[in-house]
């Protein structure tokens, strides 16, 4: 039996000036690469609120790719350094949540590095394929089921209390 290949869903946060243009250039140059990254265009990688990353994972993404200008080449002078700092902290949070840090990547790509970005995308998609789906929303649903159980118990408890009164 042939197994279906797992196609990871990856949300990309690309800065408007370098990486988004690199992704555009990769398309324009018809550099074929995995179509699994769905890109959110932000003005700067510094805009990436770590909450966005968690939101994406919580809504079913199997990975998140943050891409910005190379250090020292930020359109906003130095904001990608702040991304770098946040990313380091985010990794801790991911670890605490039990999410492999391979699922969230930060890459630098200048507007001229279309081929390099395409390569990074391919590599990440392959890597996440080996990790398998993250399936966070399913876990949420489970949790909700769990909460329902708790609520049921509470209700029964309350009813028992009322009977006893």
């Amino acid at each position: 039996m042939q197994r279906e290949i797992f196609e990871p869903k990856i949300v990309g946060f690309f800065c408007n000036w370098c990486s988004y243009r690199a992704a555009d250039a990769a398309g324009t140059a018809r550099i074929r690469h995995a179509p699994n990254v769905r890109v959110v265009r932000l003005m700067c990688s510094g805009r990436v609120d770590p909450a966005f990353v968690l939101k994406a994972l919580a809504l079913g993404a199997d990975g998140v790719l943050i891409a910005g200008c190379h250090p020292g080449e930020c359109h906003y002078l130095e904001q990608n350094y702040k991304t770098m700092r946040r990313f380091a902290l985010l990794k801790h949070t991911l670890q605490a949540l039990g999410i492999s840090e391979r699922r969230v990547r930060l890459v630098w790509a200048s507007a001229a590095e279309a081929a390099r970005l395409a390569e990074a995308i391919n590599e990440m998609v392959e890597d996440i394929r080996t990790l398998g789906p993250l399936n966070w929303p399913a876990n949420w649903t489970d949790d909700r089921g769990h909460l329902d159980e708790v609520e049921k118990i509470l209700l029964e408890h309350q009813q028992a209390m009322e009977i006893g009164r």
Binding site: R32, M43, G46, R47, D49, K55, S110
Partner: protein
């Protein structure tokens, strides 16, 4: 009230429709919440396509528009304008990039269609949260800063100054003129470079609208289009510009002679107090403190004693000049590849291997040899010369690009050598690329004149002879790929056509003015074809060889084009700037000041009396870093606000969660701050 969203999906001929099932996507998009129309069209950007959207805005009362087409970098403005003309705020439009990011990425029709659905769902989910924005209008300062006094910068400055607008022209060297001033002749007409350049230079020097700042460098730039504040470092000239008459007596009497590495390319000498060349503009010399005897051992001061106007000032320090300009034109030019990096060509080791710039100086009548073509010994005329093309360009190890001017330069050199010495001239080329007006004709002329062309990349240049004929010669080892044979060509002189490279400090300059460089180090234009002189930073333009290897006519054309763009902005008087900026909700701001240090543009002020921070929208560039950092969620990043981005994420993942339909609302209602109870 529910929004009325229109979704427009472009075929882009077959660019999108070839790999994406557009019909399927359109049908599917029509089922999304709040989508009242979903249409497909062959070319959405055409006037008919735009009219389609405009009609729907009017007839269907659309409140939001999603266009799924090419990159927003190409047509976002087109569709925003189209919607604005139909009465919809331009910021209520969202582009889904389904061409560069989907149809051109894969050939798998199913995968491409799926990705397009996700991108459309993301855009639909996001656009619902868009808020109308009004661009701010700022007045444009009529002054322009031109950075670099080569031919491109000179042209730009003169165009603007002639149109009546004031220009600051900043040049690093003591004189303007750039590389062109070093040349003897220009191809293909063989015009004398100085004869056509120096009148332009003196025009600059005398122009009432040009403030010429030579021996000066850009220190710092702040502000944005219309109102840049620029700090210029005026390096200590040690000669007072207000007193010097340019008589040249000081230069004549200066006892210290040093090799001129810049203008003479190491081929000639200059004094410690000097002007690079006789026609320098301004004619005011500078004292090079590194070679001056006074600065070395506190003796001499001959120039000071002899100066009839007392213009010499040994105590002069670097000064800073702050100017305000509306636009900046960057024309910082190029540098020659260091031919020592290819040791097998022997430059620096074999005396009679020259670089193209050295040879230019040698040909120049006012150069170190008075225009005579001679070997390094200064007397012997060469009987044979070999010109080596593509030294450091079209080479995987150094620069992969073509330096574009060297083929013509080589033909010019061939002509000059044959004309002046009658020597035999070989040119070892990979491909001949004389590809502009009258260039091919010049190539034919040189073929007729008897220049010898060998097709092959030179392997080595050596002085180790194998035969008596090779004795005392330089031997060029090359595979003649047309003959299919290895050849050893014995010659007296070799000229290396070094690559045209970006300025070594181009990145630094780029950072100061806020523009970026390609991997090679060339400044990147806004659009490779349609916007070649503008950059991604509004109000900053590029001209000449700082953008890529360029010959004189192209540099001049770009200089003029950049000036025209700046002039357009100035004559209009005001410019609309993007309202994509951050703003702080004072009620939510706790005054923690975390954001204050995050802004590199100092756009965030802390108001002591209110204990809150505030964003100055004129300085904010909209990066959003502070928005992401605010622990209280008090900062709003217009057009990239939290609800918008989070809705987009949810839309992009429409097939990964929930019931497989993009959710109408994905964000928990925001908690309003509790009002104090009476």
């Amino acid at each position: 009230m529910a929004e009325r969203i229109g979704v427009y999906i472009c075929h882009c001929g077959s660019n999108i429709a070839g790999t994406v099932d557009v019909g399927e996507v359109t049908r599917w998009a029509g089922t999304l919440d709040d989508v009242v129309v979903a249409r497909e069209y062959k070319f959405m950007c055409s006037s008919l396509g735009q009219a389609l959207i405009q009609d729907d805005i009017r007839k269907e009362g659309l409140t939001r528009v999603v266009v799924a087409a090419c990159s927003p970098h190409l047509h976002e403005r087109t569709f925003r304008n189209a919607c604005a003309n139909a009465g919809l705020n331009p910021y209520l439009v969202q582009i889904a990039n389904i061409r560069e990011h989907a149809s051109w990425v894969t050939t798998d029709r199913q995968a491409a269609t799926n990705k397009v659905k996700a991108l459309v769902a993301g855009a639909v989910a996001r656009v619902r949260y868009h808020r109308p924005l009004e661009p701010m209008s700022v007045t444009v300062n009529p002054h322009t800063l031109v950075l670099g006094g080569g031919i491109a910068g000179i042209q730009a400055a003169l165009e603007l100054a002639d149109a009546g607008y004031p220009v600051y022209l900043v040049e690093r060297e003591p004189s303007i003129g750039g590389h062109m001033a070093q040349y003897d002749k220009t191809f293909p007409t063989l015009d004398c470079a100085a004869c056509i350049l120096t009148p332009r230079m003196s025009e600059v020097g005398q122009h009432e609208n040009i403030r010429l700042l030579t021996y000066s460098e850009l220190e710092q730039v702040s502000g944005s289009i219309g109102n840049f504040r620029v700090r210029i470092r005026r390096r200590a000239r040690h000669v007072r510009e207000d007193k010097c008459t340019g008589c040249g007596l000081c230069i004549e009497k200066c006892p210290r002679k040093v090799v001129d590495e810049v203008f003479e390319a190491g081929m000639g000498y200059r004094k410690a107090i000097y002007t690079p060349f006789p026609q320098a503009v301004p004619k005011i010399p500078v004292i090079d403190a590194r070679s001056c005897i006074w600065f070395e051992r506190q003796r001499c001061r001959a120039c000071e004693k002899l100066c009839p106007t007392g213009a010499i000032d040994f105590d002069q320090q670097d000064e800073f000049l702050d100017v305000e300009v509306g636009n900046i034109i960057v024309a910082t030019g190029w540098e020659l590849f260091d031919c020592r990096r290819i040791p097998q060509y022997g430059y620096g080791r074999l005396a009679n291997v020259f670089t193209s710039l050295e040879f230019e100086r040698m040909c120049n009548a006012s150069g170190p040899t008075g225009g005579r073509i001679v070997l390094r010994d200064g007397v012997t005329e060469p009987k044979s010369v070999c010109i080596v093309h593509c030294v450091g360009s079209r080479d995987q190890r150094f620069n992969t690009y073509c330096s574009s001017i060297c083929c013509m330069l080589s033909l010019k050199f061939g002509h000059l050598v044959m004309e002046k010495t009658g020597a035999k001239v070989y040119a070892c080329y990979i491909d001949m690329r004389p590809n502009k007006k009258d260039y091919e004709e010049f190539y034919q002329r040189l073929l007729d004149e008897g220049m010898l062309f060998v097709r092959g990349k030179v392997a080595e240049i050596t002085d180790v002879a194998r035969t008596p004929q090779e004795e005392g010669k330089l031997i060029v080892q090359v595979e003649d790929t047309l003959l299919g044979k290895q050849r050893r060509i014995p010659v007296d002189m070799v000229i290396l056509m070094g690559a045209i490279e970006p300025r070594r400090d181009a990145r630094e300059t780029g950072l100061k003015v806020g523009i970026s460089c390609s991997m090679a180090g060339w400044f990147i234009e806004r659009h490779a074809k349609l916007d070649p002189v503008a950059t991604m930073t509004e109000g900053v333009f590029i001209a000449g060889a700082c953008h890529g290897p360029k010959d004189i006519p192209d540099s001049v054309a770009q200089g003029a084009a950049a000036a025209a763009r700046a002039q357009g902005m100035i004559s209009k008087g005001t410019v609309k700037i993007e309202p994509v900026v951050a703003s702080i909700n004072e009620d939510k701001c706790s005054g923690c000041r975390i954001c204050n240090n995050l802004c590199p543009f100092n756009a965030i002020d802390y108001l002591e009396e209110k204990t809150v921070s505030q964003v100055n929208p004129a300085l904010c560039k909209g990066c959003g870093t502070c928005v992401a950092a605010c622990p209280a969620g008090a900062i709003t990043g217009a057009h990239f606000d939290r609800d918008q981005v989070e809705a987009e994420i949810a839309g992009l993942l429409w097939d990964a969660h929930g019931d497989g339909r993009p959710p109408t609302a994905v964000r928990e209602p925001e908690l309003e701050p509790a009002l104090p109870q009476e």
